[in-house]
């Protein structure tokens, strides 16, 4: 069980305090897929970064199985079983796909193990493991490798920030399959995408840094705008 208690986060913008997240209280149970939705700037990505330890909240606590993660570094949280796939993946000049997959598992993979990992995202290991994870790969390829790295960590808490962004020709069905297969773990996905919302166990809607509504998909989905734009029905843009 992952719990977020009374969590607030603000930044200083030219001397003015800007609140990004306001008094967030959420709990995530094991073996469930949560989709966080909301307009741009609603604080979704920031919430994931706080869980991973990349940003630090001003107030409140993040607990995993009653143990506080708040004072843990990114590395300590990673070792505790938290993983993240970024919306815009980071590239590296000189580091090969296989180097990165080895880091994710903390051991050297053989070809068949790499095949197993990369085939989950529709890539053939032979074509990729010796390539550098740099801009010579397409945006879609980089994004899929990012997802593969996150999946290969066998994390207890998997965070995915807009996994569908830039996925190119690879079909959505494959992507949703990934989350459906990633069982017995806490999966938290940030997305606007209707198809991803439709496979959620629970949906959380954020607006201007606050939780507007949350609950089982069957309850929340009918309340949302049919276009899946991350807002309630009848609400105006922005």
């Amino acid at each position: 069980m992952l719990e977020i208690k009374n969590l607030s986060y603000s930044v200083d913008e030219n001397g003015v305090k800007k609140e990004i997240l306001k008094n967030i209280n959420l709990s995530f149970s094991d073996d469930k897929l949560y989709v966080i939705t909301g307009n741009n700037g609603s604080g979704k990505s920031t919430l994931l970064k706080i869980i991973m330890g990349i940003e630090k909240q001003n107030e409140g606590d993040v607990l995993y199985n009653k143990k506080s993660l708040t004072n843990m570094s990114i590395t300590e949280r990673a070792k505790e079983g938290v993983s993240i796939a970024f919306q815009k993946p980071v590239t590296f000049k000189g580091l090969k796909v296989k180097d990165l997959l080895d880091i994710t598992a903390g051991k050297s993979h053989n070809l068949s193990a790499m095949c197993e990992i990369l085939s989950k995202v529709g890539l053939c290991a032979k074509d990729y493991i010796d390539r550098e994870l740099d801009e010579r790969l397409s945006g879609g390829e980089i994004k899929r490798i990012e997802l593969a790295m996150a999946l290969s960590r066998n994390a207890k808490i998997s965070l995915f920030d807009e996994p569908e962004a830039g996925i190119d020709l690879w079909s959505f069905d494959n992507l949703t399959q990934i989350f459906s297969n990633n069982k017995n773990k806490i999966n938290i996905v940030v997305s606007h995408q209707k198809q991803i919302l439709s496979i959620a166990d629970e949906i959380i809607l954020l607006k201007n840094g606050e939780v507007v509504c949350k609950g089982e998909k069957g309850k929340v989905l009918p309340l949302l705008d049919g276009n899946g734009c991350g807002r309630l029905r009848g609400e105006q843009n922005g």
Binding site: I54, T75, A78, V82, F86, F92, K93, G94, I103, R153
Partner: protein, 306 residues
């Protein structure tokens, strides 16, 4: 060979023992071991220090090792090595110099190399430089490499400065004929108060000649690195120069890439980026379980391809 020799040989030529085939191991200005084969002949020069390496036309999948070791403080070694590669060859040449200096006097090795590459031949040339020893004496390497490429030939030149070289000025001159391909990868690490300057002049003389020069440098401590390149397109040709530097501590990297399209048909590109390690790269590796320090080491290791 003693322990220091073996260590240097391993570092600069990946050799754990005397290699098979053609080789020439030079130590402190003398020949330590040499072997010539019918296909790759090594002939000492008569009028000056150095060797001629003659590779017969059609020789494929063969390699030649010509490492240099310098273990005497205060010794200055100047050597001229000339390679004559026949037509239609496919060979690997492994050079490199290791200096061990435990004294307070400077040690220096200047290797002046020329390569005459025959038609349609493919040559991979690997040169590694390494310094060890705790003496105050500097370990200096100033190589000059001249490459003349005949029609349809390809040269893949990997130049690595692993560590421990106090000062280096390396100059490389290449002339390409029709349909030639030149690929240069340079990876240099400097630390403390070391200095490294590399200079490339590439003349794309032939039609459809192509060159790619990629330099990756990591500068630590107070070290300074300078990258100067001049790619001249005199025909329908393509040239790409890339210089990336990672800075740590108080180090400095200066990049001066010049491209000069003397033909309207030439297409030349240069890119240069210098800066500290990208914070987002460190964060990404930390999210995979590495500590901040491990992440930085991993990024540098990959960047330098060590």
């Amino acid at each position: 060979m003693d322990r220091i020799d073996r260590d240097l040989l391993e570092k600069v030529a990946d050799l754990h023992k005397v290699p098979v085939g053609s080789f020439n191991i030079r130590k402190n200005g003398e020949v330590l071991a040499r072997n010539s084969t019918k296909e790759i002949e090594i002939i000492p020069k008569e009028n000056k220090s150095g060797i001629n390496i003659k590779i017969k036309s059609g020789v494929k999948n063969k390699s030649v090792h010509i490492p240099v070791l310098l273990t005497l403080g205060g010794f200055k070694d100047l050597v001229y090595n000339d390679f004559y590669v026949g037509d239609n060859c496919d060979v690997t040449i492994i050079a490199g110099c290791g200096i061990h200096n435990n004294t307070c006097k400077d040690s220096q090795h200047d290797g002046i190399h020329s390569f005459h590459i025959g038609k349609n031949s493919k040559v991979k040339y690997i040169e590694k430089h390494y310094g060890s020893g705790d003496g105050e004496g500097k370990k200096i390497l100033n190589p000059i490499t001249k490459i003349f490429m005949k029609e349809g030939s390809q040269v893949f030149f990997e130049s690595l400065q692993i560590e421990g070289v106090s000062s280096t000025i390396r100059k490389t001159y290449v002339k390409l004929s029709d349909n030639c391909l030149l690929n240069i990868k340079e990876n240099i690490l400097t630390t403390d108060s070391q200095y490294a300057k590399t200079f490339f002049k590439v003349e794309l003389l032939g039609e459809n000649s192509k060159c790619e020069v990629v330099s990756h440098s990591v500068a630590k401590g107070n070290s300074i690195q300078e990258f100067v390149s001049n790619v001249i397109g005199k025909n329908k040709s393509f040239g790409h120069v890339e210089c990336d530097g990672i800075l740590l501590d108080d180090a400095r990297v200066i990049s001066l890439p010049k491209i000069d399209a003397k033909s309207k048909e030439a297409s030349l590109v240069h890119e240069a980026a210098i800066g500290k390690i990208a914070g987002e790269q460190v964060v990404k590796l930390m999210t995979l379980g590495l500590t901040e320090e491990e992440a930085q080491q991993m990024i540098i290791k990959g960047f330098l391809n060590f």
